[in-house]
Structure formats: C-alpha cells, structure tokens
Amino acid sequence: MDDHAFRTEGLVKRFGRTTALAGVDLHARHGTVLGVLGPNGAGKTTAIRVLATLTGFDAGTARVGGLDVVRDADRVRRLIGLTGQYATLDEELTGLGNLVLIGRLLDLRKPDAVRRAKELLDRFGLEDAARRPVATYSGGMRRRLDLAASLVGRPRVVFLDEPSVGLDPGRREDLWRVVRELTADGASVLLTTQYLEEADALADSIAVIDHGRVIAHGTPSELKRIVGGQAIAARPRDPHRLGDAARILTAVSGHGAERTSTHELVVPVDDDRSLFEVARRFEEQGIALAEFSLRLPGLDEVFLALTGGDNGASDRGAPTDTATARSRA
C-alpha cells in the first residue's frame, strides 16, 4: 500500500471546452496537511471533488488511502470527510437532525449517532442552535455545522474547501485548532484557501495551482525562499515622515525602499542586525512608528511572484526582491 494519505497524478478534468485540471499532481503523507492555494477558477474545488468521489475525470489517477477513487469509491467514502465550498446541509432539518442523519447513514446506532452529534455541536459552539432548522442559521454557523458534518464519521482524510470563508477571526482560530487536532489524531487534511496566512499557519506542504496546473510545491519556508530573504517593514505614525523614514531605510540597507498603498515602507535586508540600526536612527530622528517588523516574505508575495498577479506571467523567471514590495501594493 502506498504511504500517501491521498495522491493524484496527471489529473485532467475538462468541462466542455474548459480545462479545469490540466495534469495535477497533489499528494500528502499520512497525518499531514496539504494546503492548496490558487486564484479563482484555478481548479481547487474540482481537484477536491475528484478526490471525494463526486466528480469523474478524463485522465490521470486519484487515490485516497491507497484506494482508487473510481474503482473503490465506496471504500474511499468510508475514509473521507468533506466540507465543500458550498454548504451540504439539509436546510429544513435542525443542526442536530443533520448530524444525526449523517451518523445514521454511517451505520452508527441511534444513541451513538446522537451522542456524536452533540459532541460535535459542542465542539463547534452550536449547542444553543442545535434544535433550530438550519434555514435559520447565520452564514458562519452553517459553515461550522458543515465542518462538523464532515467529521461525524471520524474520517482519516479530510477535505476542506475554503473552510474559513465567512468565519470571523475568532472562529477562524477555532477552525485552525480543529485542523491541528485532526492531524494530531493522525488524520490527513487537504485544505484549499485563498488566505495565504492560513496555509502558512496550517500546512506541512503547499501546492500553488493556477489554470489547472501545479506551479509550485514545497514547504511554506521553501516557497518563501523562492521569493528571497528577510525584509524590514515600517509604517511611520505620521505619513509626512515617510520621506525621512525611507531615507533611513535606504541608507542602512543599501536598497531602495518600496512604498505601499498603506503607507508602509518595505526594504530587503541582508541580515537581521540592520533592524537595530534602523530602530536607533528612527529614535534619533523622532519618527514615531505604528508598525515595525522584520519578516520573511509572506505567502502572498510568493503567490504573486508565481502567478504574476492578474495574468499569465507565471512563466516569469526567478522573482526579484521587488516582488516583496509589489505584492504589498
């Protein structure tokens, strides 16, 4: 048996004239999280639907837990939990009713199904709404119930398609904790997201897809390395001091500082000692700071560097350090 929780090779899926997947390879080892990043229409949902046995495909292979998603669809369905991009709930049933229904369809006995449902409702902060029809739920509540629905059968492989869309920051933290608990229990997760911060926080490896192709794959830090080293970002409290601040940054780093639309200055630096020098000079000149940090480039920089922003520049050569600043703009 192969030691991947799930694996696609050369996956091709066409819808009429649209090629949603043009040969996608995705894989994750047991107990890890694969983050799939990509702009709208990149093929993220299609890839998840293939792995979750919901959609057929035109070429390539897709396996979950070593099982072929077409030939062994029924056994694959025993292993997986899916939270799709759109809620898969019965609006007329209550939250409890939805989860119990799924438990019963997963062959739990009635009392076990009820117990499991209540446990999950508690875990996702829905105990008070448990007996209300889903039609009365807010967007974030539906999202959480949908997530709970995918976990009823304690799946070994969990597919989450943009799970944090519509969650407030506190709930997003909760979601992240749930994902971490899943992997701590040995489950594997495929998570698509537009929040690069989310992939960075959760994923053991990240695949960036665009136009139905994987254009980069690696650990979060590998991907960050593609874009370059560290950078100092500073935002003076008084926008009138931007010029002075930029002069200091340029003098210390030897690079031109990029100015972003949020009145932030970003400059690449060769080593972290520059930070202290910059701080000393800001203090000397009395420039008050709203934000000041030394950081690795964020995944959004990686993302923009790889996909070339709005259009097809993904074949651009090695991104330069200006990628950092440009993406901030």
Binding site: A52, T53, L54, T55, G56, D74, R75, R77, R78, L79, I80, L82, G84, Y86, A87, T88, L89, D90, E91, E92, L93, G97, L101, I102, R104, L105, L106, D107, L108, D112, R116, E119, D122, R123, F124, G125, R144, A149, L151, G153, R154, P155, R156, R171, D174, R177, V178, E181, L182, A184, D185, G186, A187
Partner: protein
Amino acid sequence: MTPATPTATPAPATADAAAPRRPARLLRHSLVLTGRSLAKSARNPGAMLNGVLTPALFLVLFTFLFGGSVAGSTDAYLLYLFPGIAVMGAGLSGMLSSGLAINIDMKKGVFDRFRSLPIGRSAPLLGSILADVVRYAVAVALLFGIGYLMGFRVQTDAASALGAVALMLGFGFCLSWVTVFLGVLVRDENAVMGFAFIAFIPLMLGTSLAAPVDTLPGWLQAWAGVNPATHAMDAARALLTGTPADGSIIRTLVWSAALLAVFCPLAVAAYARRR
C-alpha cells in the same frame, strides 16, 4: 467551540467495520432517509394535503354532479366512484411528491453530502419513495374517512379491503419511479411539476374513474382500456365493492411490476450518473 479535547479516537467508526450485507444496508440507509423525509412532512404537512384535497374535491364534485344521471342515485354512484378516487389519491401523491423532492434535493448541497457517504447509490431514491408510500397511506386513510362521512361503506370483507389498500399503495409506489426518473433527468423543477400535471389528466381521468369504460366515447375507450390506472381502479372497485374483477387485479400487478422494472433501474442509473 469548546477547548481542545481531541475527542476522536484513532479507530475510525465507519471504516472497514466488516461491511454488513449489502441489501440489508441499502434498506437500512433507505429507511433512515425515509425518516428524514417524513420528519420534514411532519413539520410541513401542508404539502401532503395535495394528495388528499384534489381527490376529495373530485369525489364531492362527481358525486353530486353526476351521481343522479349516471347511477340513478348519489349513494349508488358513490359506491362506484370511491375506489377510483382512492387510487387517484395514491397515484397523485406518487406523481407529485417523490420526483419533485429528488429534483430539489439534487440541486442542493445535500446531494453532494449523500454522494460522499458510503451508502448505496439508490438509497436516497428508495428512501424518498418509501416515505411517499407512508404519505399515500395517510392520504388514502383520510380519503376513506371522507368517503365514510359521505356514506361509502366497504361491501366486501376486511381482508379484501386491506388487499385493495395494499394494491393502491403498490401501484402508487411503482408509478412514483416514473416521476422520480423524470425528476432526476430534468433539471428544472417546474418542468417536473408541469409534466406531472399534464400526465395527471389522461392517466387518472382517462379511466373508468367516473363511468365504466364501455360507456366512454370510442377514442377514450381505447385509451382507458390500456391505461394501467383503469385496471387499478377496477381492481380496487372489485376488492372494495365486490364487482367482478375480470383479471384487473392481475393486470394491475403486471403493470406495476413492469413500471418498476423499467423505471427503477433507469432512475438509479440517471441518479448515479449526475455529477
């Protein structure tokens, strides 16, 4: 979300727990889904009334409009009319509800949820139709109540009456698969409704419902003669009022089996193919 207690034990609750025999599982999953459908009906009983109100309306209307002229008296006519109306109740519920419910389900996310679960492909269809059978039973019981109030009495024995009810429900069950097939095939729920409505008139009215087939005009006689609903109505009449069956019971059973044999596989195949 309450603080992290990693509740999940590593042993998966569902995976590989020596898969029980298939037909038993299919039936169990179907019954779970039947429960879902019935829970919704209980919450929203108005939708069910259609299967009662329309036949009840025909019952009252025909009895008082034609009772005198066709049978000489409204009481005698009620005896003739009622069994056909009861069949209409079962058939109508079947034509309207399942196909529509499936059609609407398939457009909602819950369809994806069912398909990502390890349940038989036909379970959602079978579950929905079994729920319908319960709903027809309710509709037929209500119609019997209305018939009783109007003066209809079973002329045969309890066993025959039960047989009549079973036959109606069986016929409705088999007829449901036709609309379920359509509900799966056609995307637009209005088209499903429209079809059911258009089919209703020749199927239920082009029969021996209001008057014996041999009194109908020639062209209608030809249709009514082959219409399965006519056989079902004749059979119900024989079982409830003791008129001669003339093979109508067998013909109803054969028709029902044929409808089931053709449309059940078609519906399941179409359902499995929809992605």
